[in-house]
Amino acid sequence: MQILIADDEPVSLGLARAALTDTGCDVLTAADGDLAWTAIEARTGPMLVVLDRMMPGVDGLELCRRAQRTGASRPIYIVMVTSAGDPADLAEGLEAGADDYIPKPFNRAELRARANVGLRMLALQESLARRVADLEEALASVKQLRGLLPMCSYCKKIRVDDTYWQQLETYIGAHSDARFSHGICPECFPHVLDQVNREER
């Protein structure tokens, strides 16, 4: 798991780094919005981003919007760092796609606790994504029989394309996991027996 701290203000950046270095994650830092976006784009996998609202270059809100678009294919959890006592900042941040916020000045323990929530969410998303991928893979290998099958009324063959007709059992065998054993039903048995006797004569 990766953590990116983006803040142009070095005391907050240092405080955030101190809070997150022993999370067991790979901690990256960026001193402006352009560097932060480069770091987000350059990496793959889930990422927790602690993002200052106001930075030189791409600002925190625009980064949130971009990360949201990236997040469609890859989980990114954003904790927006806002100025204390500025509810407009907070609302804008959440609407732009931040998942949580923390007002400045923050405590090391508080940021750590919020980051842990984010890391749990990312782990959950990753686990769900893996489960969905497994299910999709399983689904792809399941053979299905469905839809309208064009069938000959007399010989019971199935039309596969405009020119090719396939035996019913061959068709079902190819489109399902069914297998066939062969016998003669009681209704057909007298006719078959009669036919065999005629041929022997």
Partner: protein, 113 residues
């Protein structure tokens, strides 16, 4: 203002002396540069730079609970956001004075650790 700013920062880092000293050094290194940038932005009438620098400096001072610096920096930031750099000029001596006292207090507090 004496050692109160350092007590605030020390509490923020959960009493970790090493991180406290590291962050004091970061502040003592950055604050004079940041103040210079604010002064230059005021003199040149650059509202965008003034807003950005005052905002960042406010964040740094807030880590030390320096309410006087935070209040003046916020006023400057808001005036700059409104494009009113001229109105921010009279606040400079106030910001500079509060900031110098904060820097001295951080230097003194850092020296004790």
């Amino acid at each position: 203002m004496t050692t109160r700013p350092c007590a605030a920062l020390l509490e923020r880092v959960g009493g970790d002396q090493d991180i406290f000293v590291e962050l004091c050094d970061v502040f003592l290194d950055d604050a004079p540069r940041r103040l210079d940038s604010i002064r230059i932005a005021l003199e040149s009438g650059d509202a965008g730079a003034l807003r950005r620098e005052a905002h960042a400096f406010r964040g740094e001072a807030a880590a030390f609970d320096a309410a006087d610096v935070v209040t003046v920096a916020r006023e400057i930031e808001q005036l700059a956001a409104a494009g009113d750099v001229q109105q921010a000029h009279p606040l400079w001596p106030l910001l500079e004075g509060h900031s110098r006292r904060l820097i001295d207090a951080v230097r003194a507090g850092r020296g004790r650790h």
